[in-house]
Symmetry: C2
């Protein structure tokens, strides 16, 4: 599918992720010939600009995707479940940002810096999954290290923004913050408990065994992207009172020794990565990453316990903090 | 030193930690015979109540600690460095909440649930270190598991409140929050960067090698409390936009198999621990822990990678999220 311009549709065009996709299409000057924007009846009717184009958002119910090359799905899992097949049967490639198919081994899952080449070998129809910000940040940062030193163990905790729950999440943090600063009582609707000035150790529904769905899909995506289906990955995802920007604290162990200095050098030349790591208190924060495409990495250091790990674990261990903002990429 | 009432002094009585100590003395009906409160010239002169007692805060410069049994130090490292010896030379026991002596193997470091017995064997003079909230939360939660299954590896990320930086930290988060919600620009004075709606992966000064001082003292304290000077502990401490309540995400590996169910049962009967861990989205958050003495623990689960860890690591791995609020304990 090589054309001078493509017919593109965005499902969920009035949501946060949809808005990011539309902005990215414009910023990257993606050759959009024809743009269709869809949303629920509730928000359809708005006019949205994408570069020189201005398009009225149509209700999804009327979509048929005839002659559409690419359909971005950014309206959550239920809409993806209902509409992806209609898009692919009409001949379009569907790029899904929901977790619906993230664990399906038959569906391509792509982070351009990691496995962009897989896209070109892909058929001209079907579905591509775009994993969530945590899996992207981890894959982009860890792939260059894995290629050189073979990662054998990953332990992760996350600091995730309310924007992950869409506009309603942002509004809930705003509202609760104002109420608490005014000494008034607050209500929680989007999040299971108060999020303002708090931290909630739950992102995604809790599954039997105690993991959340989103923890499971992130582990699954990361294993696929690093090409090791049994890689020991342990992740705890926590919602923090941030509007935007996802931060990740990572500890890795490797089969081959890898010092923090090695890791720093490998990451400095890695695609999609920006190392901010110096002695004079230079490290990234989520606020720094907002609106940026790169995954920022700092506080790279040898695991303080690396030298006492027993002999069978003679590789190195490295800690780092990574920050990613990107909600979406263009893959085509 | 067994008396019906003690002569107690609090250095840093107008600060957050000092206030917590004074409140704890009253709440626990500690037998205070005589209470001296000290602060800098700047805040001396205030009247502070402790149960039935009301005491005017005196300038520290005039303190001599004659006939004082116990002096709590809650005014930071510099004040401790200057004044602890004067207190002990005057015959008092100094209980220091600063990191000054936390890594000194000759100084007793106590968390009552873990090693209270050490206090009784201690001489009637000298210094006792009270570690910070992170070391306390980890020690209280991990000691019962370590005793049964021998912990061989700990990886921790923290979510720490601005109250760790005292009243000035609280004021900075308040102020920055209001300014940002009003669309105005903000300034950072207490924290190295903006803390409102952000997360800062630095608590304590950065040392050579990339760790911070506070990460190092927490590792050191935890190793001492668990009785294993070489225990592999890796910790990343992060300041989050919370006012109070410290949350900790922990992954442990053990020498002897330990399931999440085992861990849950051990922790249910452990001192100082409150397990909040059920399928119906019951888990603690920092907001729940404010004003509570216990360390709350939830999201206890088997490490999703435990079954693929290689044979040399045949113990179990368990994840959990812990929340602690306590700034101070009474040890005597």
């Amino acid at each position: 599918m090589k054309k001078s311009a493509y017919s593109v549709a965005v499902v969920g065009a009035t949501g946060l992720v949809g808005g990011e996709i539309i902005a990215a299409l414009a910023e990257r000057a993606f050759p959009v010939g024809d743009l269709q924007l869809y949303a629920s009846l509730h928000t359809a009717g708005e006019e949205v600009s994408c570069g020189a184009l201005t398009v009225r958002v149509a209700p999804l119910d009327g979509a048929h995707f005839a002659d559409t090359d690419i359909v971005f799905f950014a309206a959550g899992e239920q809409v993806s479940a209902e509409w992806i097949t209609r898009a692919t049967e009409a001949g379009a490639i569907a790029i899904d940002t929901s977790p619906l198919l993230a664990e399906d081994p038959d569906v391509l899952l792509v982070v351009p810096e990691v496995n962009a080449a897989d896209v070109s070998s892909y058929a001209d129809r079907g579905v591509i999954v775009s994993p969530d910000a945590v899996a992207i940040a981890l894959a982009v940062a860890l792939k260059p290290l894995h290629d050189v030193a073979t990662i054998t163990r990953i332990v992760v905790s996350t600091f995730e923004p309310v924007s992950g729950a869409g506009r309603a999440g942002i509004e809930e943090l705003q509202q609760q913050t104002v109420e608490l600063m005014s000494g008034r009582s607050i209500e929680s609707a989007v999040f299971p408990q108060r999020i303002a000035f708090n931290a909630l150790p739950q992102i995604g529904v809790l599954l039997a065994g105690g993991r959340t769905r989103d923890e499971q899909t992130a582990v699954s995506a990361l294993r696929r992207l690093l090409g090791d289906a049994e890689l020991p990955v342990s992740i705890t995802r926590v919602r923090a009172p941030l509007f935007y920007g996802t931060a990740v604290s990572v500890n890795i162990e490797t089969a081959t020794p890898l010092t923090a200095a090695d890791a720093r050098e490998l990451l400095r030349v890695a695609p999609g990565v920006l190392v901010q790591d110096a002695d004079d208190e230079q490290y990234p924060t989520p606020a720094d990453a907002v609106g940026q495409d790169a995954t920022f990495i700092g506080r790279i250091r040898d695991d303080e316990s690396a030298n006492v790990l027993d002999n069978t674990r003679k590789g190195a261990a490295v800690n780092a903090v990574q920050i990613a903002e990107r909600l979406i990429r263009d893959y085509v």
